[in-house]
């Protein structure tokens, strides 16, 4: 290997140093996702505040990762949670197992659950990856930028 080869190598290095970097400074800056990117789930409520989810467990049946748990209960006049006869007393998604396939969203007859764009869900313990109904009803605390264009 002669001096020649070394110079060639240095030339490549210098050229790359002058180019605009491909990487971005995550987490200060975040990659924008496409609108249909399937990220963290969200449970929705009607305008009157009642939950759209009726606890029918169809999402549970559809989920290939078996990571949703729904325990339903009956609405009472004193405690009306959803607009149907039943509501989900417990609604949990184990994000450690979810594969973000979106089948739950497709299965839901009430558009009660959707997959939003947020993807920042790392936690220090597995237990923290068990998202409860309250967490899913609230917007994710770490929003991400969304691209406007469609590829």
């Amino acid at each position: 290997m002669g001096l020649d080869d070394s110079l060639k190598g240095f030339a490549i290095t210098f050229r790359q140093m002058l180019r605009k970097p491909e990487t971005i400074g995550y987490p200060e800056r975040k990659t924008p996702v496409f609108p249909r990117f399937r990220g963290r789930h969200r449970l929705w409520t009607h305008d009157n505040g009642l939950e759209k989810c009726v606890g029918c467990s169809l999402c549970v049946a559809a989920c290939p990762a078996d990571c949703i748990r729904v325990v339903a209960e009956e609405n009472t006049p004193e405690n009306r949670v959803s607009s149907g006869e039943r509501y989900a007393r417990i609604y949990e998604i184990n994000m450690a197992r979810c594969i973000f396939c979106g089948y739950c969203e497709v299965a839901c007859p009430f558009d009660a659950i959707t997959l939003e764009n947020e993807y920042e869900m790392s936690e220090r313990t597995r237990g923290d990856l068990l998202y409860t109904k309250d967490m899913l009803l609230a917007p994710h605390p770490k929003p991400v930028p969304v691209r406007s264009e469609v590829p």
Partner: protein, 763 residues
């Protein structure tokens, strides 16, 4: 559920016909739907249910094309005919099926997501597989307020009803309670009780199983699970001796509901459950359930781990001293056998007995040919001697009613009025004089006779058992024992007698007592047991529920219930059937067989097996009555135990003449008046308490008014009961209800449930 009747395609007398272009054959008289199903062609149905009697053709779902007949025919009410040509999938047949489904769905709400039937709904399934896929109905659907409570356990959603009449036919023709009717017509049609009252009875829950839509659903199960959330386990009902086959629905470790099996056991319950079998499961999590082992030391109680509790129990048992073992009536065959092995090996000659009726003198009748409950249907004459089967062996009632509908003569003989008396000819016997009534019986001729006899009543009157055995023998009849104890027959098959320990304990010859699912202080002879147990120095209890016995035990080890353990129960007809665990036992409890094996290890006599299956195999190898049985042979539907002599390995029954003075005591345990019903919240509105029922003449003689309270005193003990005066109860006897927890009627009785007289007075 069991939508199609089983068809024997190899039976004699087949007729040949053509089905969808195939040349096939089925037994003459078979309905086309059943024949087709057996031949692998499913014709959709809704109203057809062979167990409800003759088909009524209400829903028109089963339309098929039959060559030479005008229009489409209902396959559920058309028997197969020689050389008929049937098409179930031709365009015209499909068109008919599409039309019916579209019509049924016109007024059907789109409720599937909130409907408890969703996922196991015949209407959903058949719409999906046979339906047109679209509707042309755009008008407003009918609406009813919903749901209504048809009873405290059944919710009625009238919008979902497809007017198939299954529930009505069950009520009118099977349970014969004549309660449910269809009111109004057309779109306004709705199910209701004729009187407008709640639908209450012994068998109401069956309409939930047979309703092909979510119109009738279970209130205790309401919204607790979806079919894909659960696992279903076939098991046996552990609340009476009939061996009713059930299916346990398990969600997240708990029993979520009990239903009939999709494939019923036609020899036993035929897919009908009593409401006790169906709704008592809630008691599995009752507050008095033992969930943590307890060790009592110098009056201090401390919770312990299972391991420590078994160690402590072994320490107490191994101290030397004379040990007695009591095996309760809900113990499985495995538990009984392991207890016997413990007594024989580790405890070298400990005394052991089952809690139950000794029944010396029943051998004569027990050794007559046995019948199954399924044989009752086909009998020409059904004789019921003693007892109160509608309350104590409930599903027997449905079989007897079915036999009567099929033309059988029914004769009841016994001291108590009960719900099967009006079904046939009732012969009322004097209490304690069954033998005389049997001798005076004038039975009609019949091709086949089945005699049902009550274990408790006949054990108290061995002469009656002998007289009945002669009748059975002379007529070539067969007999069914109306057993008093859940697994009494299983424990008898092991050779466990009933009497030894009580006598020894009373004589002060027992130092340490081990009870296994046994609560002698809440059963017959409670007063005598209380006295005898006072002479025992240390007690160890393996039990599922807290009781006076566990309250006074040195070591209490919580056991799994029959919902949570593997094991074998032998039904009163001698059918060995398997319990399969449907639920997980509480963390501090374990199946009794596991605990007994662990105890044997600690006591230095380890048995060479570690599973319930092996323990049962060992029992089968050691006991002639169980010969040839194992878990595989028993399988899903059970297998008969051998009839061996002696059939009743028993202690001796007490004196045959009633002890004491006053009125003879006649006892019944009501279906919703036992501990299981009292533990279940679902049965809260139907459960019954303890009472003394007297003929008004007796009330007057004793100066006791209806609704008053009375003190009953027998030579064994006493108790105080509310009094009801009822003219349908004969004078000359005191009728009291046993089984109610805490009522103490059992204190009046001797341990062998022999006859007693009671003095009654205002308290």
């Amino acid at each position: 559920m069991a939508d199609y009747a089983p068809v024997d395609l190899t039976a004699e007398g087949q007729v040949e016909f053509e089905l969808n272009g195939r040349r096939v054959s089925a037994p003459a008289g078979t309905m086309l739907v059943d024949a087709a199903y057996a031949l692998g062609v499913e014709v959709p149905i809704f109203c057809y249910e062979p167990r409800l009697g003759a088909p009524i053709g209400a829903c028109r779902m089963c339309l098929v094309e039959i060559e030479g007949m005008r229009g489409l025919q209902t396959a559920c009410s058309t028997p197969v005919q020689p050389d008929m040509v049937v098409r179930t999938n031709s365009d015209i047949a499909k068109d008919g099926q599409d039309g019916v489904l579209e019509f049924l769905l016109e007024n059907h709400p789109l409720d599937c997501p909130v409907c408890d039937k969703g996922g196991e709904c015949p209407l959903q399934d058949r719409t999906f597989r046979f339906g047109p896929g679209r509707t042309r109905f755009v008008e407003a659907k009918r609406h009813f307020p919903k749901p209504l409570d048809l009873s405290s356990v059944i919710a009625l959603d009238r919008e979902r009803c497809i007017s198939c009449y299954r529930c009505v036919r069950f009520s009118q023709d099977v349970a014969e309670d004549k309660a449910l009717v269809m009111q109004e017509r057309g779109a306004a049609a709705e199910i209701a009780t004729l009187t407008g009252d709640q639908y209450e009875g012994r068998f109401t829950g069956n309409v939930i199983d047979i309703c092909p839509v979510g119109a009738l659903t279970s209130i205790p199960y309401r919204f607790t699970a979806r079919p894909w959330d659960v696992t279903n386990t076939p098991s046996i009902c552990g609340h009476d001796a009939t061996g009713t086959n059930v299916e346990l629905t398990l969600r997240e470790g708990h029993v979520a509901r009990v239903t009939a099996r999709p494939e019923p056991n036609y020899a036993v319950e035929e897919g009908w459950l009593s409401d006790l079998s169906r709704f008592a499961y809630e008691g599995n999590r009752a507050p008095d359930r033992l969930t943590a082992p307890l060790i009592r030391d110098d009056g201090r109680v401390k919770e312990a781990s299972l391991d420590d509790a078994v160690d402590a129990a072994a320490l107490v048992l191994g101290r030397g001293g004379r040990v007695g073992i009591l095996v309760g009536p809900t113990a499985t065959v495995e538990e009984g056998f392991l207890a016997q092995e413990l007594a024989r090996t580790a405890l070298g000659g400990a005394r052991i007995q089952r809690l139950g009726i000794p029944g010396a003198g029943l051998d004569a009748i027990r050794s007559q040919p046995r019948a199954e409950l399924g044989d009752i249907d086909g009998a020409g004459l059904v004789v019921i001697v003693g007892g109160d089967p509608p309350n104590q062996q409930s599903i027997v009632e449905l079989r007897v009613r079915k036999a009567r509908r099929r033309g059988a003569a029914v004769i009841t003989v016994g001291p108590r009025p009960h719900a099967l008396e009006p079904v046939g000819t009732a012969v009322r016997s004097e209490p304690g004089r069954l033998a005389a009534a049997i001798a005076a019986l004038d039975l009609p001729e019949a091709a086949s006779t089945i005699v049902l006899w009550d274990e408790a009543d006949l054990a108290a009157e061995p002469d009656a058992a002998g007289a009945l055995a002669r009748i059975v023998g002379d007529r070539g009849a067969s007999q069914i024992e109306l057993g008093a104890d859940v697994n009494g027959a299983g424990l008898r098959a092991l050779g466990l007698g009933a009497g030894d320990v009580l006598e020894a304990a009373a004589a002060g010859e027992i130092d340490t007592l081990l009870t296994i699912h046994a609560d002698p202080l809440d059963g017959p002879g409670a007063a005598d047991w209380g006295w005898a147990l006072g002479r025992v120095r240390a007690r160890i209890a393996i039990a599922a529920y807290a009781s006076a016995v566990t309250d006074a035990s040195t070591v209490v080890i919580p056991a799994a219930t029959h919902y949570e353990t593997d094991g074998v129960y032998v039904s009163m007809t001698g059918r060995a059937q398997r319990l399969r665990p449907g639920a997980t036992a509480p963390a501090g409890a374990a199946p009794g067989w596991e605990l007994l094996i662990a105890l044997a290890h600690r006591l230095g006599a380890p048995p060479p097996y570690r599973s319930a299956a092996r323990a049962f195999a060992a029992a089968a190898a050691a006991r002639p009555a169980l010969a040839g049985l194992d878990y595989d042979v028993i399988g899903v539907l059970g297998a008969p135990v051998a009839a061996v002599t002696p059939v009743s390995p028993n202690g001796v029954n007490g004196p045959r003449e009633a002890a004491g003075t006053g009125l003879p005591l006649v006892t019944t345990t009501r279906i919703f008046g036992n501990a299981a019903a009292h533990r279940s919240e679902a049965l809260a509105s139907v459960r019954t308490g303890a009472e003394l029922v007297l003929n008004p003449a007796e009330g007057e003689r004793l100066g006791i008014a209806d609704g008053a309270r009375a003190r009953l005193r027998s030579p064994h003990g006493e108790c105080i009961l509310a009094v009801r005066l009822a003219a349908d109860h004969p004078a000359g006897a005191a009728f009291a209800t046993t089984g109610v927890p805490g009522a103490g009627v059992e204190r009046l009785l001797p341990a062998d449930r022999g006859p007693v007289n009671v003095e009654i007075e205002a308290p």
